[in-house]
Point group: C2
Chain length 298, copies 2
C-alpha cells in the first residue's frame, strides 16, 4: 500500500523541521490574513511570496517554485473554504501543519474619506458576510466582491477616491496607507480563520496530533455508519466532517474527516488500510500538529 510506504518513510525521519531558506507561497496579497499565517508559522530564513488565487499556490508547488504553500481552509463564522478542499483532492498534496489567525476586519478608506462619503465597499465575499451586521446599518452602500481582502485594500488605495472603502485587516490598512473608519466590524468577536500548510511530500513535524483523510463511500445504506464506527472502535475523536460533491457525479460526495486522539505509528498503519477497504476511494491528507494559541495576533 503506497500510503503505508510514505507513512513509514516519514516516521523514519521523524521529527522533521522546516528547512532553512524554504520558499513559501501564500494566497492573497501582501497584508492578507494568509500572509500573517505564513509569518507566524515559518521562521525568518524563509522567503514568502503571494499568489493571486489559491490554485496558484498549488501550482507554485506543482512547478517547483515553492517548497510549502499556505491557504485558508475554514473560518469559524462562515465555514469551509470549498475551493481549497477541492484543490486538496485534485493535487493530492499533504497537510503538514496548521495555523490560526484571529480575524479583525476594519473599514479602510483613503485619507479624507468619512463614513458619510463612502458608497462603494470592496472585499472578499467572506469579508462581507463576516461584517454583515455592520453593513446592514449602511443599506445604501454597494458591496463589490473582490479576490481577497488585501487586494481590495490595495485597489482602494490605488484609486484614492473618497467614496470607496475596503474591508480588510488593520495591517493591510497600514501597508497600503489607508485610514481606519471603523474597527472590529466582524459580527463574531471570536472570528478565527484556520490555515493549512501544504507540501508535495508527506512530512511529520514535531508532535503531530491531527489526522486528515478524504474518502468516497460505496452506494449502500450504512456505509458512512461503518466508517464512523471505526473511529469509535479506536476511541478516536472525530473533530470535523465535511462533504464536497464529486465533479461529474451529481449528488455523490467526497468526505473529509479530521480525527484526533491517542495516535501512534501502529494505530495509523492498522487503521488506514481498514478505512481504505471500506471506501471506494481513499486519500491520506496528513498527520500534523494542531495549532496551539500563542497569544493575541497583533
Amino acid at each position: 500500500m503506497k500510503i503505508l510506504d510514505a507513512l513509514n518513510q516519514a516516521f523514519s525521519k521523524y521529527p522533521q523541521v522546516v528547512e532553512a531558506k524554504s520558499r513559501v507561497a501564500y494566497g492573497g496579497a501582501c497584508g492578507s490574513y494568509c500572509e500573517e499565517a505564513s509569518i507566524s508559522f515559518f521562521n525568518d530564513s524563509c522567503t514568502l511570496f503571494p499568489c493571486k488565487t489559491f490554485e496558484d499556490v498549488f501550482e507554485a508547488l506543482n512547478q517547483g517554485k515553492a517548497d510549502y504553500g499556505v491557504v485558508p481552509i475554514e473560518n469559524s463564522s462562515t465555514g469551509s473554504i470549498a475551493v481549497v478542499y477541492d484543490l486538496l483532492s485534485r493535487y493530492q498534496y499533504y497537510i503538514v501543519g496548521e495555523e490560526e489567525i484571529r480575524v479583525r476586519h476594519c473599514l479602510l478608506a483613503p485619507k479624507g474619506a468619512t463614513l458619510e462619503s463612502i458608497d462603494e465597499v470592496y472585499s472578499h465575499p467572506q469579508g462581507f458576510s463576516q461584517s454583515q451586521e455592520f453593513l446592514n446599518t449602511y443599506p445604501n452602500w454597494k458591496c463589490i466582491p473582490y479576490f481577497n481582502t488585501a487586494i481590495a485594500a490595495a485597489y482602494v488605495a490605488e484609486k484614492n477616491e473618497p467614496h470607496m472603502a475596503a474591508i480588510a485587516s488593520k495591517r493591510a490598512g497600514e501597508i497600503y496607507d489607508l485610514e481606519i473608519l471603523a474597527e472590529n466590524i466582524n459580527f463574531s468577536q471570536t472570528n478565527v480563520t484556520r490555515f493549512v500548510i501544504i507540501s508535495r511530500e508527506l512530512k511529520l513535524f514535531n508532535k503531530p496530533t491531527c489526522v486528515s483523510i478524504a474518502f468516497h463511500l460505496p452506494h449502500r445504506p450504512g456505509s458512512l455508519f461503518e466508517v464512523i464506527g471505526i473511529f469509535s472502535v479506536f476511541s478516536l475523536n472525530l473533530s470535523k466532517i465535511e462533504s464536497r460533491p464529486l465533479a461529474n457525479h451529481n449528488w455523490e460526495y467526497l468526505f473529509f474527516i479530521n480525527f484526533t486522539g491517542n495516535i501512534s505509528q501502529n494505530t495509523l498503519t492498522t487503521l488506514l488500510p481498514i478505512i481504505a477497504e471500506k471506501t471506494d476511494y481513499f486519500q491520506f491528507l496528513g498527520y500534523y500538529p494542531q495549532f496551539i494559541e500563542k497569544g493575541p495576533t497583533v
Copy 2:
C-alpha cells in the same frame, strides 16, 4: 413536543397543495436560475417576484409579503450554498419542496462585442468557479464577482460597453438582449443546481420522500456515531450530510442531514424524539417530495 404537534397537524391535512394566487419570493433577478426553478415549481396563478439577496427572500416571508420562498441550496459541481443553510437555521422556516435546474452558463455581451474585445467579466462567484476551465483560456480577463448571474447580465446590458461580458443563463441573455459569445461554458456538462421551496408553516405536499433535519451534538466521542446509528436501525438512507460552524462557538458544528427511505407518520413520530434526545439542539426542517426529472429545461 412542539415538532410532533406540528407534524401531526400537517398529516391531518395531508396532502396539501399550493394555494392559487400564492405569492412567491425568489433569489436573484428576472432571468436567474432561481426564477426558472420557481416557474417550474409553481402554477400560473402564482405571482413571482425577485429579491436581491437570499436573506431578502426569508425577510419577505417574515414580513408576510410572500407565502413561499425559493432559494438555491446546492450545486452539483461547487457544493452547498453556505449562507442558505445559515438562514434555514436562523429563521426556522420549513422546506416544503425542491426543484432542480440544469445550469448552462453562457458568455453574454452587448451587440457588437467579440471574444477579442472583452476584458472584464461579471458573474456570481459560483458562475466563475463553474466556468473555470473556459476562463483559464482567457488569462487576461478580469473576473469581477457580482451578486447574481442575472443581475450581472442586467448590469452588462445597462453599461452597453463592448469590453464587458457576463456569465449567466441563455434566458438571461434573451431577457436583457445580450449576444451569446460562448455557450455551455460550465466545465461539468451535468451541472445541476438544487433549490428548496420554503414556507413559514410545515406543509406536506403529495408523496413526500425526503426528511431534512439539523442538530448540534454534545461534546463526547461517539456522539455522531450514535445519531447516524439511528438511521441504520430504521433502515433509512442518509442521502446528505453537511456541517456548518455555530456562530460564536469556534469549531463547533451544526449538522444538516437529509434522509430517505420507507418513512411513515409513525416512523417520524418515533424517530424524531429519539434524535432530539441524543442531540443538544434539534430542528425539524421538513418532509417533502424530492425532485423528479421532468425532461430537459429549456
